[in-house]
Point group: C2
Chain length 445, copies 2
């Protein structure tokens, strides 16, 4: 580390520019170039030296991007940025958990160049290995933009709360899902309908699966968890459910009972290990996170000294993401370093995962049943068999004709996840069930 640190300090002291190579000139890349251009003088004053884009790489050189004029070298192959001796820091905005993005980051770090990336998929799978490579060569690795867009949450956890044992971190990490759930609540429309609209408006991708199935939030949670608890990343340990099965009925029920439905990403120390889960939650309407709506993100953490804190802001979009990328560049320019995951990469412990089967909580369950005598008796008996007690149960209206389906909604007292899963398997097999039972966990935050 010594040599790289000394060189960095020497460069900073001379006020030499820090030379940046940007890989990927999509929405975010173009935003970074524009921010660095528009705020150049301010950034130079704040960082103590200019931040200069000297090289770029993207797939199509001829595409119009509306970029400010710049005197930069062009590379068709992004990995070449990592071999350019006049590049100090590579900004990786290609995306994807492997391929060129991974090769670029690895090569840059090996060559002692800093890496700033917004790539949560890559970090969720290989973050600790990249951090190790960074520390071995003394190069900085930073990824504020990978989680919660413009909100400087990683810096807050890593530095601002450095004196705390973090007990829990949870948040709304996917703006697409939050937008869809907010729209569903405000308009009463169904998931599919709102998703179509979100796609038209550009808030959801043509293939929305990464977002609506919770994978994007799980990638981000993986990074947050590793940083909050100083462990290796463990994406496979995340329990992931998306929002496809949240229905207008659920949202109406939530409203009636004082809840809102949010896709939360939760990491928590428990006596059984660390829980990592992403799934729709009913949260009490009087909690701050219940009021984080639309495309906004929020991250709440609980430290043993600081107590609860919450950070809120735009979780995606060109400008907020560029803001986070540039903050990392400003840190590197100013010589502000540290350990990417809060502690030396070689000392990050393996994450001891708590089994989801042992999770204990309250549950909301929605059944669609034929409106006929005995159904509720059957359901209640199964729940009783699995030691699950019912806090409230609502049958929505009566069927207009005999044997047509009606929703039955219930809330359980605290129960073990494994017991609930087994009970629902049995309930699903009842002949009166018209669709698989659906479950939403209730979170007291």
């Amino acid at each position: 580390m010594a040599r790289a640190v000394k060189a960095k300090v020497a460069a900073a002291m001379k006020g030499n520019p820090i030379r940046v190579g940007i890989a990927g000139l999509g929405v975010v890349g173009a935003g970074v170039v524009r921010l660095l251009h528009e705020q150049a003088a301010m950034l130079s004053a704040r960082s103590g030296r200019p931040i200069q884009v000297v090289a770029v790489s993207a797939r199509d050189k001829r595409k119009k991007r509306g970029l400010p004029k710049g005197d930069w070298r062009w590379y068709d192959n992004a990995v070449q940025l990592a071999n350019d001796p006049e590049v100090d820091v590579v900004v990786e905005l290609i995306g994807g958990s492997g391929g060129v993005a991974k090769e670029l980051c690895e090569t840059a770090l090996r060559n002692g160049k800093g890496v700033v990336t917004a790539n949560k998929a890559l970090l969720a799978l290989h973050g600790d290995k990249l951090a190790l490579a960074a520390e071995q060569s003394g190069a900085p690795l930073a990824f504020e933009a990978a989680v919660a867009g413009g909100i400087p949450i990683l810096k807050a956890l890593r530095e601002g709360l450095a004196g705390n044992n973090i007990k829990r971190v949870h948040g709304i990490l996917n703006g697409t899902c939050n937008y869809i759930l907010t729209e569903m609540r405000e308009t009463g429309r169904d998931f599919g309908d709102v998703l179509n609209e979100a796609q038209r408006l550009g808030y959801a991708e043509a293939d929305p699966s990464f977002d609506v199935d919770g994978i994007d939030a799980a990638h981000k949670l993986t990074v947050l968890t590793a940083l909050a608890f100083n462990t290796k990343v463990d994406f496979k340990a995340v329990h992931v459910e998306g929002i496809r099965h949240v229905s207008a009925v659920d949202i109406a029920f939530a409203r009636e009972f004082g809840y809102r439905i949010k896709l939360l990403a939760i990491a928590r120390r428990t006596p059984r290990g660390i829980e990592q889960r992403v799934h729709p939650c009913m949260v009490p309407v009087n909690t701050p996170i219940a009021h984080v709506d639309g495309v906004f993100n929020a991250v709440a953490a609980e430290g043993d000294f600081v107590g609860p804190v919450m950070f809120e802001g735009r979780g995606a979009g060109q400008n907020p993401t560029a803001s986070a990328v540039v903050a990392d560049l400003a840190d590197i320019a100013a010589g502000r370093g540290g350990f990417a995951f809060g502690a030396p990469a070689a000392k990050l412990g393996k994450l001891k995962a708590a089994a989801m089967a042992d999770h204990v909580g309250r549950y909301y369950i929605r059944l669609l049943v034929k409106d006929q005598p005995g159904v509720l008796a059957d359901v209640s008996a199964i729940l009783r068999d699995h030691k699950i007690s019912i806090e409230s149960l609502v049958q929505r209206g009566r069927a207009e004709a005999a044997n047509t389906p009606v929703p039955v909604l219930l809330i359980s007292h605290e129960a073990r996840e494994a017991d609930m899963a087994r009970a629902l398997q049995r309930i699903a097999r009842l002949r009166s069930m018209q669709e698989p039972p659906r479950l939403i966990r209730i979170e007291a935050l």
Copy 2:
């Protein structure tokens, strides 16, 4: 700067402990000592080197403080900490805008020792001079604990949002006031009553003036403003009003019209310069800050790239404040530096203050009038004379007997502060007025 930086880097590379001297062993000082003791191993891993308390100073050596056992030198005179060659960083927790606190910080910085302080009064009056002294000797100066307790808001503004021009920063910066206003809202009780209770519970000082008259919040705002806009501190330019005149009537009116009353500290770029003001505000109940209750603090900022962000947490208390002090120590231990107010102290511009007289906004006004014909005609005529138009006007009930006072509450459309002040002066002189008119500004955030 060169020598100090090199020495710091060299020390960090060897993993040498950073040696801390703590001045002031009150609630916060004891918390810092305890935190550093309890989390020593974790902090050492995160910072790359141990953080060791080697010397302390407080008024009474014999006082029982329940501190962990430590092998530290004792100084009766805090300033001696700054002359101890074995102290690298001084933590100033004495308080007060001058006297020993100021002398200690100045001496320490002059001697090349780092200073961490929670002293907002000192910073609000002398912050830029201290920053200059720090940069001249290459010593770090940090004060995360001075604003919003455990919330790492200064780091967020200075580093996390470094790529942004900040347009506005506002917040709830005084937990005592927020506790009192929350209690008043929730219980319907009057200011004096709730203040007495807050004093009994230890949430308010025996002399509550610093808190309830808005001075504490104004000190904190001064620091936030300088950091957000990279200007010199200018405490005198802050328009300050406290919460003594907020009444149960106002709170009931606010509820009815969809507002909550909060003591906000607001700094804003305007075409006329930078506005800095602390006063009770009516904020729409659907804004996030309206839901920050009790002793919690929150700070919201708006950057040109990141958009709106908000940070929330405990703004005072032993453990949250210790968390912030220790975060600063961890930064210094890890060699993470920067400019105390976000840009080089010598280049901080003088703050161009916008005159409060030119402020434009909506106003809530409470009058206590004798219930007699013609009063409202008089009031309306005066407002009209000053180009103030009324959005709504409510007379609360009717007097039981003739000539007994009744409240009249009104909300204006947008008006200029100077016009409103002149109108209220004239209204105050009406013979039917039973107490001075009271004004609360309405903020659309």
